[in-house]
Amino acid sequence: MTRVARLPRLVGVGVRTHVSYMSRSPIEITFAVLVPLVYATLAVYLFRAAGDPDRLLTASVGAGLMGIWGSVLFGSGGAVQNQRWLGTLETLVVAPTPLALVLLPITLATAVTGTYAMGATVVWGVVLFGVPLDFAHPLLFLLAVPVCVLALGMTGLLLAAAFVLLRNANALANPLDTPVWLLSGLLVPVTVLPAWTHPVSWALPTTWGARAVHAATSGGDVLTPMLAALALGTGYALAAVLVLGRVERRARAAATLTLA
């Protein structure tokens, strides 16, 4: 089997392994399900109070997207650090497979685990608040969510690469939650933000992923933002490969791979 042909298997097996691992962690499930449910409840009450019952599904879906981003941010941000704590980082680095391809399944798995949030918030909305499941494009919604997950997983790879350079990755991860919710229009349209923030929004794969998911929910063009999310996500992943190569070489030369 050629190296390229082995790639899908590597990613598939890696994602399955890490999703299984994360799904058994109570803290991961809390972040992936319980916390987004609180945000979904908050969003539904706010949208209801605003006299906007037609957008309740958008509120539930938006809270789900917030959960996916939270999962990617903390999961991918800590991907390298976690392997370091588990004592598996050296083994992963010396493996013949490039480090980026070893980390990609982890970051994709954090995004896949994040989809628990989407499922939980939508079911929560339907069961508790009677939110009707009237998706504008139901089939495209089922396509847009995995594409959004893929784009966010690739963004997570860049986060993992960037955070490995920083000793206090959590210090950067903790405040990055809400600005990305805001700048990506997960719950609030980016049009209400000041004009100077718009270029930042456009540069985020989360913006286009969220736009595709929201368009599939409430109507609009789904395919264009979906392709934009994929293109930007691929760009972020390529940047991550470059950063990771440099980080790996530096860590090997300075013998600091296992130093936390």
Binding site: Y45, A49, N174, P175, V192
Partner: protein, 264 residues
């Protein structure tokens, strides 16, 4: 008598300061600034823009509510770390071997988080008000300081009560995470409480920061200090302090009996 008082005061102040330095994971400058100052400040902006979009409440509502809630990051997680991290780092046995009275010992643990919470709330309120152009009357500042202090104290007692669970359960940070999110929903910091169902409003009344947020909003609107709201916040805090001490005593006895004090 005086010697006993001074000894207890030393236990509260010195013991509290040492435990804060040793057990609070976020004291390094990047973590402190990122997690306790920048994170809550950005959360204020998120809810202010959400509020502007939905027109459910004005900027003042979201800004002041979230600034008061900002104390919860250090108070809830700090209170939890003050107890649970002793167990995690294997020092709980040594602490509980001490013959000192548990009241001042645990009160000292909570004290730094009260001050930390006050600092965080004051910073977030000042910075967000400056950026968003919300005027805060100068004559409201002493009252605001009092209200923020009461809120931080009540929230620290709440955090200590959650931390007490760390003597019994392993994944206590899971409880802290959920509690922190529940505070956001039920205290009315982010969503007007009159839009919530009755049972949520009643639960919110029993949580820290609910009354402090209402009192702070009145103060920044120029309505003066509402002594009833301040008193209720202090009462809620006292209730959680008693609950925390009771839980710590019960779980300490239980873990001694089962010899599970340091078991992870």
């Amino acid at each position: 008598m005086l010697f006993r008082f001074l000894s207890s005061a030393r236990l509260v102040l010195v013991g509290g300061a040492l435990s804060y330095r040793a057990l609070f994971n976020w004291t390094t400058p990047p973590m402190f600034v990122g997690t306790l100052l920048v994170g809550p400040l950005l959360q204020v902006f998120f809810f202010v823009f959400l509020g502007r979009e939905l027109q459910v409440a004005d900027d003042r509502f979201h800004l002041v509510g979230n600034a008061v809630l900002a104390a919860s990051a250090s108070c809830v997680y700090g209170g939890t770390m003050a107890v649970a991290n002793e167990r995690r780092y294997g020092t709980l046995g040594a602490v509980l071997l001490s013959p000192r009275h548990r009241g001042p010992l645990w009160a000292g643990r909570a004290l730094p988080y009260v001050l930390n919470g006050l600092l965080v709330s004051a910073f977030v309120l000042a910075a967000a008000a400056a950026v968003l152009g919300l005027p805060v009357p100068v004559e409201a500042l002493p009252g605001l300081a009092l209200v923020l202090l009461a809120g931080a104290a009540a929230c620290s007692a709440f955090g200590l009560a959650l931390g007490a669970l760390g003597l019994r359960f392993r994944d206590v940070f899971l409880v802290s995470n959920v509690a922190s999110s529940v505070l956001l929903l039920l205290t009315g910091a982010a969503v007007p409480r009159n839009t919530l169902p009755e049972w949520m409003r009643t639960t919110g009344e029993l949580l820290p920061l609910t009354h402090a947020a209402d009192a702070a909003r009145r103060l920044t609107a120029g309505d003066g200090l509402d002594a009833r709201l301040l008193g209720t916040e202090l009462l809620v805090g006292a209730g959680y302090a008693i609950l925390a001490l009771a839980l710590l005593a019960v779980f300490e006895r239980g873990s001694r009996r089962r010899a599970t004090l340091d078991v992870m």
